[in-house]
């Protein structure tokens, strides 16, 4: 197969730099690319986090006094765009997907290693372009949703660069998605059945389907939008007879599934982590697989719940309410299964476990407010308020970011051969968990009581609660310090982890840590029971 020939390029060891430099060069090795995604994403996370701090500083007082109002909108737009397109999506998909999927299917690399490298290398330049647009003059300031006509009438250079950048990032994720689908379907080692794959493969299969089906719609939409801006066409411009609500339909056709592009991989990752640290099989494998596919199908038909106040007809509101609320069923199944995985286990309380359990609690909370938001009459009051901001940060931060940290603690020994410091890890968890809840829980109240989102100034009665929220954000910022120290110190002089410190059964642990260039010295092991804990054959 051509695929195999291609992957042998990465075997060209003599051309590859050694040691850590390997990670900063052009490489076709899926493991190197995975780490490149992670490091690159994390750098953007620090930028996005700094912007979030700026927003929260502005909001400690009711007046717009920390930065001018249009700068505030630019910072807000940049924060949202960076966090979504340069941190969460590339990391839960690109970073972990690249690192783990070839191991899980028993392959030596991804199906298309060159495409894989292209997908990654699109990210740094388009990310830098996005950040640079802030300094050019007139950065994008229409929010990450870029609704016209606002996005047509704001400074054009910034908005155009924003569109270009998001298009390139979308291209990157489509390339990635195609690669994951091909790898999971085509590169499985002989004898490995689909229903024996670790759950993260299923999650990535579902996610990649969403990516491939919905991202092109976003691309098309943004291209039409850029025509409206540059060539004065009238697709979305009401002055020229365009329809602004159509943009919203098209935009959310991608951007609602995008939430699942951000959380489904996290669902997959947590399904790998919980069984290992509770020494029990993943509960309900088959229902887990079906619930992922259920989420994929439902995820594609619920977009209009973002438009309940946009003047959609009543029947549409009804349909989208019911469809949205029903996503709670497959999602709920997964959460029950995870708790059942913990139940009766021999649980090691470590950083990875704590972040995963924190994820369960935060996500259940965000899921509940999500079901509430699905109800049209409920949504009408809180749409575009801080209630929504709180809800989606519970999902994306309390959910996905928690799992990213959990995964870093879990797989760090695999990547480096070193253990991370547990004390610092638990400290990191504690500050993050407290800071996160302090920051976002009070925002529900703000939204219910009349604070709209995306505002630099607000009614003075909300000041105290905003200050609590900002205090939480400060704690979250502080929480990265023990984490960064831990990473640095553990790489420098962490204890040797051995090949398989957790006694895990999934394939990536059945090779050396760090793994050799083509993953296994000999033939890839055939793992028929990736979660066979507590069974006699497992040892």
């Amino acid at each position: 197969m051509t695929i195999l020939i291609d992957s042998q390029d990465s075997n060209n060891k003599s051309l590859q730099p050694k040691g850590w430099l390997r990670y900063f060069s052009f490489s076709l090795d899926h493991k190197v690319i995975g780490i490149q995604y992670l490091v690159c994403g994390f750098l953007f996370y620090l930028i996005g986090g700094t912007l979030a701090s700026a927003i929260r500083i502005e909001l400690t007082s009711p007046m717009s006094d920390f930065m001018p109002r249009d700068i505030y909108n630019q910072v807000l737009t940049l924060h949202g765009t960076i966090m979504i397109f340069l941190w969460i999506v590339p990391v839960v998909n690109g970073a972990f997907g690249n690192y783990l999927i070839p191991f899980y299917v028993g392959a030596r690399d991804m199906a298309f290693p060159r495409l894989n490298a292209v997908a990654f290398w699109l990210i740094p330049p388009s990310g830098l372009m996005l950040v640079a647009s802030y300094f050019v003059e007139g950065a994008a300031q229409a929010g990450w949703t870029a609704y016209p006509p606002l996005s047509i009438t704001t400074p054009q250079s910034g908005q155009i660069i924003w569109i270009m950048s998001v298009l390139l990032l979308g291209g990157s994720s489509i390339f990635g998605g195609i690669n994951f689908i091909a790898t999971i379907i085509k590169l499985r080692r002989p004898g490995l059945k689909l229903m024996q794959l670790p759950m993260y493969c299923w999650a990535m299969l579902g996610t990649s389907l969403l990516v491939v089906l919905s991202t092109p719609v976003l691309a098309g939409t943004l291209i039409l939008l850029s025509f409206d801006i540059v060539a004065h066409t009238g697709f979305f411009n009401p002055v020229l007879g365009g329809n602004v609500v159509v943009y919203q339909h098209l935009f959310w056709f991608y951007s609602h599934p995008a939430v699942y592009i951000m959380v489904l991989p996290a669902f997959g990752l947590v399904s790998e982590i919980l069984p290992v640290h509770s020494r029990k099989p993943l509960f309900g494998y088959t229902t887990m697989v079906f619930s992922i596919m259920g989420i994929v199908v439902l995820g594609l038909v619920v977009w209009a719940h973002h438009m309940f106040t946009s003047g959609t007809p009543p029947w549409m509101r009804l349909f989208f309410t019911i469809a949205t609320a029903f996503i709670a069923v497959p999602t709920g199944i997964k959460f029950f299964n995870w708790v059942a995985t913990l139940w009766g286990g021999k649980i090691s309380i470590n950083s990875a476990m704590l972040f995963s359990c924190g994820f369960i609690i935060n996500f259940v909370f965000g899921g509940i407010t999500g079901v509430a938001l699905a109800q049209v009459p409920f949504d009408i009051h809180v749409h575009d308020t801080y209630f929504v901001v709180a809800h989606f940060h519970y999902i994306v931060y309390g959910g996905t970011v928690f799992i990213i940290f959990s995964s870093i603690y879990h797989w760090f020994p695999k990547v480096t051969g070193k253990l991370m410091n547990e004390k610092l890890g638990i400290l990191h968890f504690a500050i993050t968990f407290i800071g996160f809840n302090l920051c976002f829980a009070p925002q529900h109240w703000l939204g219910l009581n009349g604070m709209p989102r995306r505002v630099a100034e607000y009614d003075p009665q909300f000041q105290f609660v905003n200050q609590i929220s900002s205090l939480g954000a400060l704690l979250m910022a502080i929480s990265t310090i023990p984490f960064l120290i831990n990473i640095y110190a553990s790489i420098k002089n962490g204890k040797d982890s051995g090949d398989n410190p957790w006694d895990a059964l999934t394939p990536e642990w059945l090779t050396t840590s760090p793994p050799p260039v083509e993953n296994w010295e000999g033939e890839a092991p055939l793992v028929e029971e990736p979660y066979g804990y507590g069974k006699p054959i497992s040892k």
Partner: protein
């Protein structure tokens, strides 16, 4: 075994008890000032209680597992090799489905009572021509609608202000004055970008969309002054785009109305 079930029942009743108590005693919403508001709050209460039960229940399950099943120092080996339990999984698929379905139907009912399912496109009294397409909004009808004549207002939104046109008085106001207990029908149009009309105390919101007029009807029930907030990002001063709605007794409203009409006419 009996003991175990006893504790389980105890915990479940405690979770329900606490959730209901919080649901009924903690009020997270602003005052109710329209006939929509109590209907909305009824839904909110139900969702809040169900949400609390699930959240507290799941949290207890997770935290309990972490304590109860944590690995002690002298323990080695694995937990039980439990891979699934079909009947359990069927139960926790069906029960949430039923809950979700009931919530959906109930909120449909609430929405209907709020007037959301009303057909809005035909013969609205203030439409100039019946061919103009009006986009849906909420159309709340009060019980004593028959007794009261509707008040029609035309709202235009622009960066960064709301203007209220009273067609009968032929004047434009920056403040929305309405008589209490009267149904108000608004036709809303935007001059530039998308804005939104939100009155938290009324629990209603509707986007104001350029090129596509929307309708919003409501009936205020409480005299007072409430903020009108733009809830859709509309530019740098979006946060400052506010106006007030003044709900007053009918006589006060008449005074205000006549005063404005006169000044406009005398100009």
């Amino acid at each position: 075994m009996l003991n175990k079930n006893f504790y389980l029942i105890l915990i479940i009743s405690a979770v329900f008890g606490i959730s209901f108590w919080i649901g009924f005693n903690v009020n997270l919403l602003p005052v109710e000032a329209s006939i929509n508001a109590p209907i909305y709050d009824e839904l909110f209460k139900i969702l809040f209680i169900i949400g609390l039960i699930i959240f507290i229940g799941m949290t207890i399950a997770v935290v309990y597992s972490l304590f109860k099943f944590r690995k002690r120092k002298d323990q080695f080996g694995d937990g039980i090799a439990l891979e699934g339990n079909l009947s359990l999984e069927i139960v926790w698929t069906i029960i949430p489905s039923i809950i979700v379905l009931i919530i959906g139907l109930y909120s449909y009912n609430i929405y209907d009572r709020m007037g959301g399912m009303k057909e809005l496109n035909h013969s609205h009294e203030m439409m100039k021509s019946n061919t103009e397409k009006i986009w849906a909004g909420i159309s709340q009808t009060s019980n004593n609608e028959v007794a009261n004549k509707n008040l029609s207002v035309e709202v235009s939104a622009m960066q960064f202000a709301f203007l209220f046109n009273y067609p009968k008085g032929e004047f434009i106001s920056g403040e929305l004055h309405v008589p209490v207990d009267h149904k108000v029908s608004m036709k809303m149009e935007s001059k530039d970008v998308i804005h939104a009309f939100w009155v938290p105390e009324f629990r209603i919101k509707q986007d104001i969309i350029p090129g596509q007029p929307t309708i919003l009807n409501f009936t205020p029930t409480k005299v007072g002054k409430y903020p009108i907030i733009c809830a859709e990002l509309c530019g740098p001063y979006h946060g400052g785009m506010r106006a007030s709605i003044i709900v007053e007794e009918e006589s006060d409203y008449k005074d205000w109305f006549n005063k404005n009409t006169k000044t406009e006419v005398s100009l």
